[in-house]
């Protein structure tokens, strides 16, 4: 038998590892971002297995014990292990970011499609509403809403989803405006496709392409804003191991010297947000090569 195998190592693009390397070479930003996010996701999924203690397990006689062998990141003000809580916190980060991002898309994309395609009064109304929401500083709006509607994770996700939906609506709308008069759409219309089909089968896949990077960035934002809300004191119920809530508790102790309670959850926050941002930047590089000239 002749050896018909191709020298795999040289055939970048033909093997999975080759593809991965290719991507990494084209955008190291993406690679790093992806790696970070995956690492956090791993921790979130396997927290039960890898964390030394439970998320809300209290050791009442070891309140505020410094980092050491027993508690890697020390114990917090209620005697809970910071290391374990940071790990479980990853669950909340994803648990908020993913549903919120989904909601943003579910609301924003259809709005943008319809507004961009139909134009007219609908478009105007949508634009005005988006203007109002844009002028409202999001943190204040989120705070007011969650304060008013009560401390629950669902409310936080809903608020974030609604607040950022206009961003996607706008992005999609501008894409639609550009694509509306293009050849394939015109032929689809001529072929007698119903509007909804044009919107969702023909326009959407193309319009959404430009938003992909934004999804990662908005997920970073979702994690940040829910942590900020938790830090101020709304949205997350104690003793949930959410990083913002942990920093809130840590704030009291930082100034009297117990730095570990606030440091580690904050570092985790920085990590995951960085990861998502890099992922977003990298996706931008990969998917929108014409922008790459600007080095974004």
């Amino acid at each position: 038998m002749t050896d018909t195998s191709i020298d795999r190592s040289a055939a970048v693009g033909f093997t999975t590892s080759g593809r991965i390397l290719g991507i990494a070479r084209r955008s190291p930003t993406f690679a790093i971002g992806f790696a970070i996010v995956t690492a956090f996701a791993f921790v979130a999924i396997f927290a039960d297995l890898i964390s030394p203690y439970g998320a809300i397990e209290t050791f009442s006689r070891q309140v505020l014990q410094p980092p050491g062998v027993e508690f890697f990141f020390g114990a917090d003000g209620n005697g809970m292990d910071v290391f374990s809580r940071v790990m479980y916190g990853a669950r909340y980060a994803f648990g908020i970011a993913v549903p919120a991002a989904t909601l943003m898309l579910l609301i924003g994309v259809p709005l943008g499609l319809v507004a961009g395609y139909k134009g007219g009064v609908l478009d105007e109304v949508v634009l005005r509403i988006m203007d109002v929401l844009r002028s409202f500083p999001s943190i204040v709006l989120a705070l007011a809403v969650v304060s008013a509607t009560g401390q629950s994770l669902i409310n936080v996700i809903l608020v974030i989803g609604f607040l950022d939906a206009p961003i996607f609506a706008r992005l999609v709308r501008s894409e639609v405006l550009a694509l509306r008069s293009s050849g394939f759409i015109e032929s689809a219309v001529a072929a007698g496709n119903p509007t909804w089909r044009i919107l969702f089968v023909h326009l959407m896949p193309n319009a959404i392409r430009g938003s992909t990077a934004m999804i990662a960035v908005r997920m970073a934002w979702a994690v940040r804003i829910s942590a900020t809300l938790a830090f101020i004191g709304v949205g997350i119920q104690a003793p949930t191991p959410e990083w913002g809530a942990m920093i809130r508790q840590g704030a009291e102790f930082v100034i009297s010297g117990e730095w570990w309670v606030a440091l580690f959850p904050g570092a985790a926050l920085v990590g995951i947000v960085l990861g998502f941002n890099l992922l977003g930047d990298g996706l931008q590089d990969l998917l929108d090569p014409r922008r790459k000239a600007t080095g974004k």
């Binding site: 809300i56 009442s60 006689r61 505020l64 209620n78 005697g79 104690a238 009291e252 100034i255 117990e258």
Partner: protein, 525 residues
């Protein structure tokens, strides 16, 4: 509205200079009080931030408690009896139902007006009309009418003779105001001048509000017409320093004299610090978890007792109060002296807890919700420890944090619909009858879990009217046991009251209103 911008700093500057120079020979001695927030009002019937902290130094009463020395050589107030203060004497008649006070001559307000019976009548009429704290005192003291029978004599008619009433006269509820000044500031729809009271004071006590700057603080000055001895400090800068850590840092560096409301972690740290003086007295209000017997499953006494047995008192003492509170065992505090009886029959006993739960039909566990807020610093940590401890007995506690406004709203008379929540009631009058009435009588304003036991009510009513001490002690004991047996409270620690001061500060005397009284303080050494 012109607000002076220089007063706070220049006064503070002078004070700090005085502090560093030892204050020797300075005419004005300024006391710098590091507080949580600027006083938002000086109306004792509307408790806003800083209201009580300042008004207890502005208003004084017809009577006062004597100051005695206790066993350890410390000066304390004698809760059991009252002495003349702004009243120089009184006569009792009609079996104790009519008490006529003779006002001491020469008691003047900073405005120069002398205290008269009309001021007293005006103050009590105001309380009655406004139906708040002042009015609560009217009811507790069983006061039916207040009449100025001459310029210097005022007659109180009581529904029932009682021992609480004279003690109420030593509190700022109601505040004795200079009615001439108040009337000047009254308007058609604000007859009691409550708007003016938000930023000003007109009392007969040692201090008087000079100015308030929101966001920075207030300045109070000595009332030059004060009828008793001039206090050491003639000027008080009540400075807003919201961060506890900053207050701690400032008292350590000697820039403020007193750091108010230090949270537990700061206390642990400050107690070890030689640059700061930390003093304490036992508290009179216990941190409790209240159960409302009108709501399932707390309507079943076995469930309530089970929770009392499942609670981990030691863990809370360690983790929440860091060993700095006193484990309590009765609805009354040891500070009540002879009236206090160790009544709490519950120690952590998971076996008993589970057995009781089983009996009540919850052998497979119980789901309850604990709602808490941030009226007190320990609420959240207590909630978390409770969740942890009760889980071991199979009780699953869902925690829910609600806003302060909601908590206060749902706790009030007529509503009272929170099944399970933390609360602390401090008795302003150090009297067992008052304490029971406040916290557990069906008409009590702090009976926030709606405990309604007619037998207990009868006991308390009898105790309030009981003038014989031995009988009163027996009644008090019975009441404490009955209350403990009904198990509507889970009583954890009595948080101590701490005074965190510069080392030179001496003379701190604790009053039952639990705020700092400035006139006794001095800076020496």
């Amino acid at each position: 509205m012109n607000k002076p911008t220089n007063w706070l700093g220049s006064a503070a500057l002078a004070a700090v200079l005085a502090l560093s120079a030892g204050g020797a020979g300075a005419q004005e001695k300024t006391f710098i009080f590091g507080a949580v927030g600027t006083p938002a009002g000086f109306d004792t019937d509307a408790w806003l931030t800083g209201t009580l902290e300042t008004t207890v130094n502005v208003y004084e009463g017809l009577t006062k408690h004597a100051i005695v020395t206790d066993g350890s050589g410390r000066e304390v107030i004698d809760a059991s009896k009252v002495e003349p203060h702004m009243a120089e004497s009184w006569t009792v008649s009609d079996g104790g139902k009519v008490v006529t006070y003779k006002i001491r001559p020469g008691v003047k307000s900073p405005f120069g007006n002398e205290l008269s019976a009309h001021d007293v009548a005006h103050s009590w009429a105001m309380a009655k009309d406004r139906k708040r704290v002042g009015n609560f005192m009217v009811k507790v003291g069983r006061v039916e009418s207040v009449e100025a029978i001459s310029d210097s004599e005022v007659k109180f008619t009581l529904g029932t003779a009682n021992n609480i009433f004279p003690r109420i006269l030593s509190t700022v509820f109601p505040a004795l105001v200079d009615s001439k000044v108040m009337k000047e500031h009254a308007t058609a729809d604000d007859q009691w001048a409550t708007k003016w009271m938000a930023k000003n004071t007109a009392g007969f006590g040692p201090y008087h509000v000079e100015s308030v700057k929101p966001g920075e603080g207030a300045v109070l000055v000595y009332n030059k017409n004060y009828f008793e001895e001039k206090p050491y400090f003639t000027r008080v800068i009540y400075r807003e320093i919201p961060s506890a850590a900053s207050r701690a840092a400032l008292v350590k560096s000697g820039q403020i004299h007193w750091a108010d409301q230090m949270p537990i972690q700061q206390l642990v740290d400050l107690i070890k610090d030689p640059k700061v003086k930390v003093d304490s007295v036992p508290g009179t209000g216990a941190a409790t978890l209240r159960m409302n017997p009108n709501f399932k499953p707390f309507d079943d006494i076995r469930v309530r007792k089970a929770i009392n047995y499942a609670f981990d008192y030691n863990a809370v003492h360690e983790a929440v109060f860091r060993g700095l509170g006193e484990l309590s065992d009765s609805i009354l505090a040891p500070a009540f002296g002879a009236y206090y009886t160790p009544a709490q029959t519950y120690q952590t006993d998971l076996g008993k807890a589970k057995a009781l739960l089983s009996e009540a039909g919850h052998a497979n566990g119980l789901d309850i919700q604990l709602e808490y807020s941030d009226n007190w610093w320990w609420e959240e940590s207590l909630a978390i420890q409770t969740k942890d401890a009760l889980a071991k007995a199979g009780i699953n506690v869902a925690l829910k944090r609600i806003p302060k406004t909601e908590m206060n709203s749902r706790r009030r008379i007529g509503k009272r619909d929170i099944p399970f929540f933390p609360h602390l009631a401090n008795a302003f009058v150090l009297d067992p009858g008052y304490a029971f009435y406040l916290s557990a009588h069906s008409e009590g304003s702090s009976d926030v879990n709606d405990y309604n036991n007619p037998k207990f009510d009868a006991l308390v009513d009898a105790l309030i009217g009981e003038t014989d001490t031995t009988k009163a002690i027996a009644l008090a004991k019975e009441a404490q046991m009955m209350h403990a047996d009904d198990a509507t409270f889970v009583i954890s620690d009595f948080p101590k009251t701490y005074a965190v001061t510069a080392p030179c500060i001496k003379g701190w005397l604790w009053y039952q209103h639990d705020r700092v009284v400035w006139k006794h303080l001095r800076c020496e050494g």
